[in-house]
Symmetry: C2
Subunit: 220 residues, 2 copies
DNA sequence: TAATTAAATAATGTCGACATTATATAAAAT
DNA sequence: ATTTTATATAATGTCGACATTATTTAATTA
């Protein structure tokens, strides 16, 4: 698909997706057609087409003749998403370790350096830290050449991000937690470069599950 | 969502999904709005909303101002889907083995019996065999209580079905292949009931990958 | 006053119309 | 004859209108 010249529906989809993930629209909130039309200054069709795609992505639910609502959140769902995500990440990492080449290794080392340097720095801007964190994990699994697994990974990441954002809004970063986190990253890289798939898989699963308990406690 | 009183868009989605998976519309085929309106006797909106959902489900692609097309197929995509499917099925089975109770075990034994009996029978109706085959595999993973993993499993199954249908149309079933297949089912059940997760996972992955080579050769 | 019913208001889901863009056809040029 | 340009045709994507269904408000009853 050509993304340079999108149609209105696609633009609305991107914006709405973002607005939901960023918590602009809260879980369970009604998405009234008229409100959305006014907000985004477009007609009925693009709104409904975007909402249709969001239904397929599980970010929106609809009831016939009653309209559209942002998908609800729950502790069970949070746990399920993170658990599934950790397993999928494990699969991706396993495949990456089995198929990754020199170029893949170098990408990991580069990304790790960027993350390590920033984690040690004085004033940490969380947005920048998240970029580097994201890139590091992306690098780890980049050797996995399964488009479908990647797509699943991305979709679950998106869903988990919504939960994380609902939590982050009211929480500042904890320095010690960040350092513990960073130690795991280094350990992870070592295991991956040693091609120790079993241990790496185990660690990445634990790593991803780490924030779950904290998010649970802080869920609105 | 209430499925008893669906709206037009949802009905069209179901029908269209089926028509694509069953090969009523072929890979790469253009899905012209007017044609679909005439075929299903509805207006523009429900058609476009259904197509929007199919885009999110990867069964349809669209290009701005050029319209909608059934997603293309390829050997690479076929392989990727089956590979991802086998891994996901492995995850589901692993979790089922770890969490399954007596009731789950009995469901497996019951489904296995139905499949075994039918596989030995004289005149095998493939549609009925597929039902029982499906139910057996469903029973195996039914102990897995992760909605998300199940959803991913279902989504990949749907995609693989399209490939299988494109192949099945021109192929009759091979008796020996069916018996070999059936032997695997029995072995699988034994491993699962013994709670031998590692071996069961290995076998299910191979089991799912079995038809890939044959489908490859017969792809249109 | 609380519960029930009726009327009024508002929202949803579907439709056909229309402007814009792409494609097919015909005319002109090399 | 082939390429290029101009014209005609067709399809897409968006819009507001409207019938249908839900929700709110007011009126009626117990």
């Amino acid at each position: 698909m050509d993304t340079s010249k999108q149609n209105t529906a696609s633009q609305i989809l991107d914006t709405l997706t973002n607005d939901i993930i960023q918590g602009e629209f809260l879980p369970g909130e009604k998405l009234q057609i008229k409100t959305l039309k006014d907000r985004y200054k477009v007609g009925t069709s693009p709104i409904r087409e975007a909402l249709s795609q969001l239904i397929a992505k599980d970010l929106v639910v609809s009831e016939n003749q009653k309209g559209f609502y942002v998908s609800n959140i729950s502790i069970d769902d949070l746990t399920d998403i993170y658990q599934a995500r950790s397993k999928i990440e494990g699969l991706c990492l396993d495949m990456a370790i089995k198929k990754g080449d020199d170029f893949w290794e170098s990408k990991i080392i580069a990304a790790s350096h960027l993350l390590a340097k920033y984690s040690k720095s004085e004033n940490i801007d969380m947005s920048e830290w998240q970029n580097r964190h994201f890139s590091f994990h992306e690098a780890l699994v980049s050797g996995c050449d399964s488009p479908r697994l990647f797509q699943i990974r991305q979709s679950l990441y998106e869903k988990s991000t919504r939960y994380r954002n609902l939590w982050l809004q009211e929480n500042v970063t904890n320095y010690e937690a960040l350092q513990a986190n960073q130690n795991e990253h280094v350990a992870l890289m070592v295991l991956v470069l040693e091609r120790d798939s079993i241990s790496a898989q185990k660690l990445i699963e634990e790593h991803i599950m780490t924030p779950v308990e904290m998010i649970k406690k802080n869920l609105p």
